[in-house]
């Protein structure tokens, strides 16, 4: 037995307890418990335990004079305070962890874990239950709560003595009476904050707010006791019902009587929500059936009987909300059909997913302490908060959290956290976007901690950073090679550069050089942890929030011209037919000879030898390189396209902003050939690195995968394409690419339609995401959009953390001495599947949120533009009908990259079709009287009226002229909507034939009137010629199209001639 004890240093005990089974029998369970002696105390000041060897973990700080141990009551109530960054030195006991797990509070546990994992918080988890000196067996007849408290006391005592009686240990508890002493004291949260953080107002405010909060669990407990006494709690309102018990839900889910999934509310139809359960959507209609669930919660749903099933609403919301579908939500929009769908009601909640919400106090809210806050995100219900001085936060954007939602309340109860500033101020709205998308405070303030800045290399004008001699020797010296970078104008963070040269044997060497961020940002350093948490640089329309300190992102790492820079390079050797013979990865040192802009490079390709902005001598030198590069990359691109890669599009825009926040113009982001070519080089580098990293670390390589879309996701695209006479074959990415190519060729005279269809195809796609290769099967690594087996992100380490991981993995794979040494000395998690998977989860979340934040900021600026430009007069633009709904349609304005609703039916159900469509003279407010609207989804709306000679038809992809307007809102962002001004008749012959059939019964004089109408439209088009030249240029395409159809009266008459033939044949 001796050897056994030596090896394990543990004693065996048994822990037994009783538990009720499913069948209501009571059984005794016996679990072994091994008591250890080797649990480290994780304090920096400790000399006994081997703590310092535990690399990446945060240890209890040496400087702090006290540590805190929260008990269960504090964790449940004041978790939000513990989450604040000021709180450090938290010792989380295993007692708490087990009891959280027993009570199914996995979310609370995850949040606590998050605190522990963040090494800046200097907090630890201590396994007191398995530690011989602190374990506390339950005494006979002792309640569990009391035993837990005894265990915590014992833990506190042990810590106090273990750390040489130098540090105070503070037990935080709401239940147990306060105790002052020099060693171990018991405080309530309030008392603790008063003693240690009396000046931090945020914490003080929070503690007051939280103290009054009624917790959902308390409610449950109260309910359980009071239900026996017959209903002391308030009566249920609005048909809310109590949730079923957890056991009942579990049984129900297993027997497929109930379904569980995440609740998604629709931003454009407030009373409808969806639960996606095992791949199929369950519709939930109305507040009553949603039963106090909030967007994002994991809920359990019971299906209603089939005659109660409803159809999905297809209306555009009148109150605004996001005009574009959420990325995640896009699926159900695609699936819209007329038939009724499974409908259910929420019977229980597995997990609340509440976060901080930005909200505004409701206007005209009465005085008093309770107020309703209207969240910015329209899918969140109004929240009832308690605040004494409501005047102060009126007309401000505030941050609010939900605490619970009792069955007796119409609205969830919450509390006020902080204010962001007055509404509709640019800075306030931007911070609102940041809060809504969970971008951390530290990133939002652009700050880095002192300590992390100390880790950075020095680069000042007086002392510019220079590479070290040792490092130059270690690296491959490519300073003599001609390297250049191609980026957008004024780019500060240049993370990629290119090179190409011919080798002596006629082969070609193609090089992609990426800034060597991982050399400066060592794993587990403070900067690394901060960057890992941030995940990505967030680009908003007018500003950006960096992932790395600017000394790295703009200076030392950025591959500027004419300075020596460290880089990680991928060098391919290609033969004469551009086949890859060999590839080399490794650390290099380069000297970029030119920071080119896209436009300059494109001009070189177009044959201009000295584009503006580049030194003539230099450009003469570079031109052959650029040309050769383009040649090679074109071949690569074509090869990849042949394999089935998709060319998709999205509509991105840039804003021109003056200093006083005036937006002078919106410019669509142009795409030249050179953009695609540079991207191709990056894709190539990424895919080769992905493959290499996978070979090196089969079960922990960070890869980027793009799962293929399912057939239902293509529904909308197929119908839209069909309306234009095209078919879509989506059986594989190659066939889809071919269908899109046919469309491109087919609509050469109407590039906007191609663009719309391609955007729709993009919407149909699944989201690409980072994965750790150990979590998925090899066949699942496939990148559908790019048609590549292995793909990762490697080329932008300055702005994406995934690339930093890819760099580390690659360098360790190729045995780079510095990387391997770092990994040995500092320890590395880059080879651990579970850690990489964890990082991937965070990165996916962050990149999605940053994308959404970017979208929101674009919308914000678009609405600002409309606001600023409608003050002087109407803003009239031409656009395309992109989506038809039952009460109107969405119009896409290519010039602004903006999609907005046009309503044809008013809120009360009366049609509002402007009279100006028919006659030019009518005022804007006049509507066609007695009109009737028929919608045949998803491609056609027609307006008929007794007064109208023939119906007005709106087809998908019709060109219309609209006036942009802004619906002002107090609690939300202003919403852009549009009203119809006129039609642009660019319809193809094919569709006008369809028109002709429906209007075959026209008399002669109505025909004349329509001709006159079309003439008017033409006259309108001509009127625009007088406008400024600049504007004309942007409409060149439109006009061209218009010309094709309307240049002579004979062409105009053509459809009518055909129609008359039909008329005569039908009359026979």
């Amino acid at each position: 037995m001796n050897c056994f004890k030596d090896v394990m240093a543990t004693t065996k005990t048994d822990r037994s307890f009783f538990r009720k089974t499913r069948g209501n029998a009571i059984v005794k369970l016996v679990r072994e418990q091994y008591l250890r002696h080797d649990i480290p105390c994780l304090a920096e000041s400790c000399t006994v335990c081997p703590c310092s060897s535990l690399g990446d973990q945060g240890l209890l700080s040496k400087e702090s004079d006290h540590y805190i141990i929260p008990d269960m009551s504090v964790v449940m109530r004041y978790l939000e305070i513990l989450e604040q960054e000021e709180m450090t030195g938290i010792i989380l006991s295993q007692t708490i962890v087990t009891s959280l797990q027993q009570h199914d509070k996995s979310r609370t546990y995850r949040k606590l874990r998050h605190i522990i994992n963040d090494s800046r918080r200097k907090s630890v988890i201590f396994y007191n239950e398995v530690f011989a000196d602190t374990q506390t067996p339950r005494l006979p007849g002792e309640p569990a709560g009391e035993r837990d408290w005894r265990a915590l006391r014992k833990l506190a005592d042990w810590y106090y003595h273990h750390l040489g009686q130098k540090k105070r240990i503070i037990l935080l508890s709401e239940i147990h009476p306060q105790q002052e002493s020099n060693d171990v004291c018991v405080y309530s949260m309030q008392a603790y904050l008063n003693a240690y953080w009396p000046t931090v107002s945020l914490l003080q405010n929070l503690v007051h707010a939280l103290a009054n909060v009624e917790l959902e669990d308390d409610m449950e407990r109260i309910r359980m006791t009071s239900s026996k006494k017959r209903g002391n709690t308030g009566t249920a309102v609005q048909g809310f019902t109590e949730y079923k018990s957890t056991e009942e839900l579990e049984v129900g889910i297993k027997s497929s009587r109930f379904f569980s999934g995440t609740l998604r509310c629709r931003s454009d139809a407030r009373d409808q929500a969806y639960v996606n359960s095992a791949g199929k959507d369950i519709l939930i209609v109305g507040n009553q059936n949603r039963n106090r669930a909030v967007h994002g919660d994991t809920v359990v749903v019971e299906l209603l009987s089939e005659n109660n099933w409803a159809t999905a609403s297809n209306e555009i919301s009148y109150e605004g909300g996001s005009t574009e579908e959420d990325i995640e939500g896009s699926q159900w929009v695609v699936q819209q059909t007329e038939k009724s769908r499974p409908t259910g009601r929420v019977v229980g909640i597995l997990n609340r997913n509440w976060r901080s919400y930005v909200a505004t106090l409701q206007e005209d809210s009465p005085d008093g302490s309770f107020h309703l806050a209207v969240p910015l995100d329209s899918v969140i219900p109004k929240i009832r908060i308690r605040h004494q001085e409501a005047k102060l936060i009126q007309n401000q954007r505030i941050v609010v959290r939900i605490d619970h939602w009792p069955v007796s309340s119409q609205y969830p109860q919450g509390h006020y956290v902080r204010s962001l500033g007055p509404i509709h101020h640019l800075d306030t709205e931007i911070s609102a976007i940041l809060v809504e998308h969970g971008i951390s405070v530290s990133q939002a303030t652009q700050g880095f901690s002192e300590a992390s800045l100390k880790e950075m290399p020095i680069d000042t004008p007086e002392m510019p950073w220079r590479p070290e001699q040792d490092e130059i020797k270690r690296r491959k010296d490519l300073r003599s090679l001609t390297v250049f970078s191609i980026d957008p104008p004024n780019c500060q963070d240049i993370d990629d550069a290119l090179s190409i040269r011919e080798l002596k044997n006629g082969n070609i060497e193609l090089g992609v050089h990426i800034a060597d961020v991982s050399y400066f940002v060592k794993e587990h350093s403070l900067t690394d942890l901060e960057a890992r948490a941030r995940g990505t640089t967030v680009y908003l329309a007018d500003r950006r929030f960096d992932m790395l300190p600017s000394v790295l992102s703009e200076r030392v790492c950025s591959l500027r011209e004419n300075v020596d820079r460290y880089s990680v390079s991928v060098l391919w050797t290609l033969d004469k037919s551009y086949k890859v013979l060999d590839v080399w990865f490794g650390r290099t040192i380069i000297r970029s000879s030119c920071e080119m802009e896209y436009e300059q490079a494109q001009k070189m390709l177009d044959g201009e030898s000295t584009p503006a902005g580049v030194d003539p001598a230099l450009s003469r030198k570079l031109k052959p390189f650029v040309e050769k590069l383009a040649q090679v990359l074109r071949t690569m691109r074509n090869q990849r396209l042949a394999k089935g890669a998709l060319e998709l599009e999205s509509s991105e825009v840039k804003f021109k902003i003056t200093k006083d926040n005036e937006i002078t113009d919106i410019i669509p982001k142009d795409s030249m050939e050179i953009h695609g070519l540079v991207a191709e080089a990056m894709i190539m580098a990424n895919s080769y690195v992905g493959k290499r990293a996978y070979q090196g670390y089969k079960d922990a390589a960070l890869l980027r995968r793009h799962p293929p879309p399912s057939a239902t996701q293509f529904d909308r695209l197929i119908k839209a394409a069909k309306s234009q006479g095209f078919s879509i074959d989506f059986s594989s990415n190659r066939s889809l690419a071919r269908s899109l190519e046919i469309i491109t060729r087919g609509c050469q005279n109407n590039p906007e339609i191609t663009r719309m269809l391609k955007t729709m195809a993009t919407m149909a796609m699944n989201e690409a995401g980072y994965v750790s290769s150990g979590q998925f099967a090899v066949s699942d690594y496939y990148h559908y959009g790019l048609a590549l087996e292995y793909y990762t992100h490697f080329t932008s380490p300055i702005r994406r953390y995934a690339d930093v991981v890819a760099h580390r993995q690659l360098l360790m794979c190729v045995g780079d001495s510095v990387a391997v040494n770092d990994a040995n000395v500092r320890g590395t998690v880059m080879t651990q599947d579970s850690k990489i998977a964890e990082i991937c989860m965070n990165l996916n979340l962050k990149s999605r949120e940053s994308k959404l934040a970017q979208r929101d900021s674009t919308e914000l600026f678009q609405s600002l533009y409309v606001l600023q430009h409608t003050m002087t007069g109407p803003l009239i633009e031409s656009g395309i009908i992109s989506e038809i709904r039952s009460n109107g349609f969405y119009v896409f304005l290519p010039r602004f990259g903006l999609k907005g609703p046009v309503f044809l039916i008013e809120k009360d159900g009366s049609p509002i079709v402007p009279l100006s469509l028919v006659s030019n003279k009518a005022k804007e407010e006049d509507y066609i009287p007695n009109s009737h609207i028929e919608v045949s989804l998803p491609t056609n709306v027609s307006v008929t009226s007794a007064d109208l000679p023939h119906p007005i038809n709106f087809q998908l992809f019709d060109h219309v002229r609209v006036s942009l307007k802004l619906r002002k809102s107090h609690a939300h962002r202003h919403m852009v909507y549009m009203t119809l001004v006129g039609l642009e008749h660019t319809t193809k012959l094919g569709s006008s034939q369809v028109d002709a059939v429906t209007t075959a019964q026209l008399s002669r004089d109505t025909m004349m009137r329509s001709i006159a109408e079309q003439e008017e439209a033409k006259a309108q088009a001509n009127a625009y010629k007088d406008r400024s030249k600049e504007e004309l240029e942007t409409r060149k395409q439109m006009r061209k199209a218009a010309k094709n159809n309307g240049s002579s009266i004979y062409q105009l008459l053509e459809p009518f001639r055909k129609m008359s033939i039909i008329e005569s044949t039908t009359s026979q």
């Binding site: 037995m1 029998a25 059984v27 072994e32 027993q102 396994y127 599947d833």
Partner: protein, 244 residues
Amino acid sequence: MSRVELLTPEGLRVDGRRANELRKITAKTSVFSQSDGSAYIEQGNTKCLAAVYGPREVRHRMQALADRAIINVEFNVAPFSTSERKKRSKNDKRSLEVATFIRQTFEPVILTSQFPRSQIDIYLQIFQHDGGLLQSCINAATLALIDAGIPMLDYVCACSAGCIDKVPVLDLNNLEESADTPELTVAILPRTGKVNLLEMESRLHIEKLASVTELATEGCMQIHKILDDVVRKNTQHLKDRLTS
């Protein structure tokens, strides 16, 4: 719904062990005087009794082999072995399968050719079941066979290992087993390192197989030490009794 974290990020398991630690093993031989050899083993809370009879005359003449002894294994789980009483019939397929595994494990190790036309019976009884049935049965059988003085090539030591969150873990208990953890049982001859039995019924990633097997083998070596200790102590005890 599994709520309990089987392996915490700090590397501790539900019962306080680390990933590469065995449960506590206590063993005893010669617990019965009726049988020729017997042993009782506790591995954590899994408790197993083995009794060996033989070599003796074959009960059914038909089965007798002219050149070697036949081995007969009977395996039984007590109805009170788990928290909820569960009665298994005698011809339960699981029990028969385990019995077959054990018979096949020992057939090449016992020098059966020394006892032609005879039979060796191994009776195994589980009293308490807390994971790792097969391994404790094999270990108990080894001890009982040694106690009975039946000539064998070597000890047969068995140990199980699994894989939780991609981390190989040694000697799963019932809680870990019931959470669908892939589990693999290895029985080896410790002196030569030859593998006698390798049993796995769940899916395990091929990349992990090597490391899990290796861990299980290491566990076998540790168990060998413990079993060897027990046998030597017992022999010493007998020797002391002889001399005194």
